[in-house]
C-alpha cells in the first residue's frame, strides 16, 4: 500500500451543540485523486476547513507526511503544501491576473514594497506550470469562470503544493471546461500532487477519481476504490435510501394539445421552434449553453417575450408578453437560477410557498384569511416534504434541494396547466433530485403538461416521454425517450 500523504483519524467537531463531525476518517496517498462526496450538511466542508487549518478538531488527529499536525493555522497549512481552492476561487476581480497570481507569494515573503517587474515574473512562472495562456494584464473580472479557476489553480501551485483540495470545482463549468479541468488534474497527478476533489456528481466521481469517501450526517459511510462503486451503491451511500430506477411512462395523455408552439422565434437566440405538449406528457428540451434552451423557457413564461411565432393554449392563440400573462394562462416557470429568480431568500418559507396564490387566501376586504392561509401552508409543507423545523424560518436556511421544493410548491399551489422547469435539479442533492422527479411524474399523471429544459441528459432521458434537441437556436432532432441514448443526443447537440 502506498504511503499516505494525509491521514485524518477519528475527527470530532461540534459547533454550538451541533455535532458536525462524528469521528470521521480520511486517507489520501501521494499522487492520488480522491473524491469526497456527500449531501449538503454532511460535514465535508468542515473536514476541509480542519485540514486547511481554519478550524481545530475537538478530538482526533491529522497526519501529514507521517507527522501528526498539532494546532495549525491556515498559513501553516499552506507552508506544508496544503492548498484549498474554494468555490469562489478567492480571486480579486478588480485586480489584474498577474497581481492575483503573485500576491500570495509576495505576501508570504513579507514584502512591503511592490516591484511590478517581479510580480510579472512570478505570474509568468505560475502560468507556465499548467500552460495557461492568458493576458497577464487583464482584469480578472473580465475572465470566464473557467479561466478564473485556472488562475486559482496556477496560484495554488506556486507554493509547492502537495495536496490540492478543490471544493465543487465543476459547478460553474461547461462540459468542455470540465474536460479541460480533468486534464489538468491528471497533469498534477503526474507531478506527484494529490487532489482531494469535493463533488456530489456521480459521473465525475467515476471519471476522474481513483478512491472515494462518502460522508452522511457527519459520519463516514464508505471509503474505497472507485472501481468497486456503481450508481446504485453511490446513491445508497449518499442518501441511505434505495431508489428504484423508474423511467417515466405517461399514463393518460390528453387527446387535444394542451400547449402548442408554432414557429416561435426570439431574435438572436432561437428561431422557428415548434412542438406540441399534451396533458399528462413530460417533454424534455436539451442543448448546449448557447442552443437557446434557456431563452425558450423565458419566452414561454413571458420574461423574454418571443419576437414572432404563436403560442396556443388548448387550441386558442394567447399572447404572453410578461409573466402576469403567463400566470393568468396557467403557465408556471421554475427558473434556472432559483436563488435569485425563484425565491425570496431572506423571507420565510411560508411566505414563499403561498406567494403566487396569495389572491386566493384573502377575505373580501383584501386582508389575509388567517385560517385558510395556515391550512394551505401546512398542506404545502407536508405534501412537498420540505425539511424544516419551522416554516417561519428564512428560505436561505434550507438546502438546495429543499429550496427547489419550495419553488415547486409555490407553483403547484396555483393549479397550473403547464409547468416549465429550467435546470430543475442543478445543485440539488441526489435524494431531493429523486423526490423532485417523483413529484413531476405525479403531476403529469394528474393531468399537467410538463416541459423539462436541462442539459443533464440522464435526467431528460429518464423523466421525459419525448426529447427535443436544440442546436444554435433550432430544433435539430426530436425522438421518443425510450429509443434515446446519451451518445446519440450528444451527437445531435454538438
Amino acid at each position: 500500500m502506498a504511503k499516505s500523504l494525509l491521514r485524518a483519524v477519528d475527527i470530532h467537531k461540534s459547533f454550538a451543540g451541533v455535532h458536525a463531525l462524528k469521528g470521521v476518517s480520511l486517507e489520501i496517498a501521494a499522487g492520488e485523486i480522491h473524491c469526497l462526496a456527500g449531501e449538503n450538511g454532511c460535514g465535508k466542508s468542515t473536514l476541509i476547513k480542519i485540514i486547511s487549518g481554519v478550524y481545530q478538531p475537538d478530538s482526533g488527529d491529522i497526519e501529514f507526511d507521517g507527522k501528526i499536525l498539532g494546532k495549525i493555522t491556515p498559513i501553516d497549512a499552506i507552508m506544508l503544501g496544503i492548498q484549498v481552492i474554494y468555490q469562489d476561487f478567492s480571486v480579486f476581480p478588480n485586480l489584474t491576473v498577474m497581481e492575483n497570481l503573485a500576491l500570495n507569494t509576495e505576501l508570504s515573503q513579507k514584502r512591503k514594497i511592490v516591484s511590478w517587474k517581479r510580480i510579472r515574473e512570478i505570474a509568468q512562472t505560475a502560468v507556465k506550470k499548467i500552460n495557461f495562456d492568458v493576458d497577464l494584464d487583464a482584469q480578472v473580472s473580465t475572465l470566464s469562470v473557467a479561466q478564473k479557476q485556472m488562475v486559482a489553480i496556477s496560484r495554488a501551485l506556486m507554493s509547492n503544493a502537495r495536496l490540492i483540495i478543490m471544493d465543487e470545482p465543476t459547478t460553474a463549468l461547461t462540459k468542455k471546461e470540465v474536460q479541460a479541468l480533468f486534464k489538468i488534474i491528471l497533469q498534477l497527478k503526474a507531478q506527484g500532487i494529490s487532489i482531494l476533489f469535493v463533488s456530489h456528481k456521480l459521473n465525475e466521481v467515476f471519471e476522474i477519481s481513483e478512491r472515494f469517501t462518502i460522508f452522511r450526517n457527519g459520519e463516514l459511510v464508505q471509503t474505497g476504490s472507485t472501481a468497486d462503486l456503481d450508481s446504485a451503491k453511490f446513491t445508497y451511500y449518499m442518501t441511505g435510501r434505495e431508489f428504484g430506477k423508474k423511467n417515466f411512462v405517461p399514463e393518460t395523455i390528453g387527446e387535444e394539445p394542451l400547449l402548442e408552439v408554432r414557429d416561435l422565434t426570439l431574435d438572436g437566440y432561437f428561431e422557428n421552434v415548434s412542438f406540441t405538449l399534451r396533458a399528462g406528457e413530460i417533454i424534455g428540451v436539451t442543448g448546449l449553453l448557447d442552443s437557446g434552451r434557456s431563452e425558450l423557457a423565458l419566452s414561454l413564461f413571458g420574461i423574454r417575450p418571443a419576437s414572432s411565432g404563436d403560442i396556443l393554449l388548448k387550441g386558442k392563440k394567447v399572447s404572453i408578453k410578461n409573466p402576469q400573462d403567463a400566470v393568468r394562462h396557467k403557465i408556471g416557470l421554475v427558473p434556472e437560477d432559483r436563488l435569485s429568480e425563484g425565491l425570496f431568500l431572506p423571507q420565510s418559507i411560508q411566505d414563499n410557498v403561498i406567494i403566487s396564490e396569495i389572491d386566493r387566501l384573502t377575505t373580501t376586504l383584501g386582508l389575509f384569511d388567517r385560517a385558510k392561509r395556515e391550512k394551505e401552508i401546512l398542506r404545502l409543507v407536508s405534501d412537498f416534504a420540505i425539511a424544516t423545523p419551522d416554516p417561519r424560518n428564512a428560505c436561505q436556511t434550507l438546502s438546495g434541494g429543499n429550496q427547489q421544493r419550495v419553488v415547486l410548491a409555490k407553483w403547484l399551489a396555483c393549479n397550473l396547466d403547464v409547468l416549465v422547469l429550467s435546470g430543475p435539479t442543478v445543485g440539488v442533492d441526489i435524494g431531493s433530485k429523486h423526490d423532485i422527479h417523483a413529484i413531476l411524474h405525479d403531476l403529469a399523471r394528474n393531468g399537467m403538461g410538463i416541459i423539462i429544459i436541462s442539459d443533464d441528459l440522464p435526467e431528460v432521458i429518464e423523466n421525459c416521454s419525448r426529447v427535443i434537441v436544440l442546436k444554435g437556436g433550432r430544433i435539430v432532432h426530436e425522438m421518443d425517450a425510450q429509443n434515446a441514448n446519451e451518445q446519440q443526443i450528444l451527437a445531435h447537440m454538438m
Binding site: 480571486v91 478588480n94 509576495e106 505576501l107 514594497i113 473580465t142 470566464s144 448546449l288
Partner: protein, 336 residues
C-alpha cells in the same frame, strides 16, 4: 470595469471651454489660479475619501474631524500665545487627526463594523465635542504663524485684461505632496495594494495573507491625518477659524470621487480620476458667476451634475459588463 478618466477629462475640458466662450474669463491666469486655490482643501479631502471608498468603505466624518482638529489646534495655540512658524501647528494637527482617525479605525478595522454607520456616529461625536465640550466659537484671530502661512504665496497671477490679481497659496504644495505620496503608496506598497484587495474581495484578502484589520485601521488613521491637515489649511487660508464652515462638504467630495470613476462598492478607481471628479465639482461651484448664473443656483447645478455624472458612469459600467459577458459567451461558442 471601464476606465473613466478620459471621459471625465473631456467633460472638464468641455465645461472650461463653455465658460470661456460665455465669459472670456476662464482661461485667464488669475482665474486658473483661483480654481487651483479653491481645489486645495477639497482636493485633500478627496484623497482620503478616495482611499476609503476603494477599500470598500465610506467615510462621512472627515469634515467634522477636520473642524474639530483645526478648532482645537487654533484655540490651543492662541491660548498659549504661540508665535512660531507653521510647523508646530502642522504637527499638532496631524497628531490630533491620527488620534481621531484611529477612533474610526478601531471600530471599522478591528470590530468590523460598517464604515458608513461608524462614521455617521463619529461625525456627530466630533461635532459634539467641538461645539459642546470645547464650546467652539468663531475665532477671528489666528496665531501669526498660521496667518503668515495662509497669506504667503508661491506666485501672484495677474489678469492682463482686468488687472485682477490672484495668489497661489503655498498650501498648494501640500496638495501636490499628499497626492504624490498617496499615489506612490497605492501603487508601490503592499499597504496600498492591500486597500485595493480589501475593496475587491475582503475574504480573499484575508486568505491571501493581508492583515486586513490592521490595514483598515491604519487607513483611517492616515485619512484622519489628511483631513486634519486640510482643516488647518482652510483656517490659514480663511485667516480665521469658523467651526462649522466645512461641515456638509462630505457629500460633494464623495460625489466628486465617484464622478471620477471610483466604484462606490470599492476595489476600483484611480487617484487621478478622483482628482478630476473633484476638479469638476470645484469648477462648477466656483465658475457659475462667469456663466452669469447667480450663485444661489450653485447647488442645483452641482446636484444635476452629480446625477448626470453618476448616471452616465453607471450606464457605462452596465454596458461594459454586458459587452464582457457577450464576449465571453462568443468566445465559448466559437470554441465549441
Amino acid at each position: 470595469m471601464r476606465r473613466n478618466e478620459p471621459y471625465i477629462f473631456l467633460v472638464v475640458l468641455a465645461l472650461c471651454v463653455l465658460i470661456e466662450i460665455r465669459s472670456g474669463q476662464f482661461f485667464t491666469a488669475n482665474n486658473l489660479t483661483d480654481i487651483a486655490s479653491a481645489m486645495i482643501v477639497p482636493g485633500l479631502f478627496a484623497v482620503g475619501a478616495f482611499m476609503v471608498i476603494v477599500s470598500g468603505g465610506i467615510d462621512v466624518s472627515f469634515p467634522a474631524l477636520a473642524s474639530l482638529t483645526s478648532y482645537a489646534t487654533t484655540k490651543y495655540l492662541l491660548d498659549t500665545g504661540y508665535t512660531g512658524g507653521i510647523w508646530l501647528p502642522i504637527v499638532i494637527s496631524l497628531a490630533l487627526g491620527a488620534l481621531l482617525g484611529a477612533f474610526n479605525g478601531i471600530f471599522i478595522g478591528y470590530f468590523s463594523l460598517p464604515a458608513l454607520i461608524v462614521t455617521l456616529g463619529t461625525s456627530s461625536v466630533f461635532k459634539g465635542v467641538m461645539q459642546g465640550a470645547l464650546n467652539s466659537v468663531q475665532l477671528a484671530v489666528i496665531p501669526p504663524g498660521m496667518r503668515e502661512f495662509g497669506t504667503s504665496s508661491l506666485f501672484v497671477a495677474t489678469n492682463s485684461i482686468s488687472g485682477l490679481t490672484s495668489r497661489m497659496p503655498v498650501a498648494f504644495l501640500a496638495l501636490l505632496i499628499v497626492n504624490g505620496l498617496a499615489f506612490l503608496m497605492l501603487r508601490y506598497s503592499y499597504f496600498g495594494r492591500g486597500i485595493y484587495a480589501i475593496g475587491g474581495n475582503e475574504t480573499s484578502a484575508v486568505r491571501a495573507g493581508f492583515n486586513t484589520k490592521r490595514g483598515k485601521f491604519f487607513l483611517y488613521v492616515i485619512v484622519g491625518m489628511i483631513a486634519s491637515l486640510a482643516g488647518l489649511i482652510r483656517t490659514c487660508m480663511m485667516q480665521q477659524n469658523h467651526p462649522t464652515n466645512m461641515l456638509g462638504m462630505e457629500m460633494n467630495i464623495i460625489a466628486g470621487v465617484v464622478l471620477g470613476g471610483t466604484a462606490i462598492k470599492g476595489g476600483a478607481g484611480s487617484l487621478s480620476g478622483a482628482a478630476l471628479g473633484t476638479l469638476l465639482i470645484v469648477i462648477v461651484e466656483n465658475s457659475m458667476i462667469l456663466l452669469g448664473i447667480p450663485t444661489i443656483w450653485k447647488s442645483v447645478f452641482t446636484g444635476a451634475l452629480i446625477i448626470i455624472g453618476t448616471g452616465v458612469s453607471a450606464f457605462q459600467v452596465l454596458r461594459a459588463n454586458r459587452i464582457t459577458k457577450n464576449r465571453i459567451a462568443w468566445k465559448e461558442m466559437s470554441k465549441a
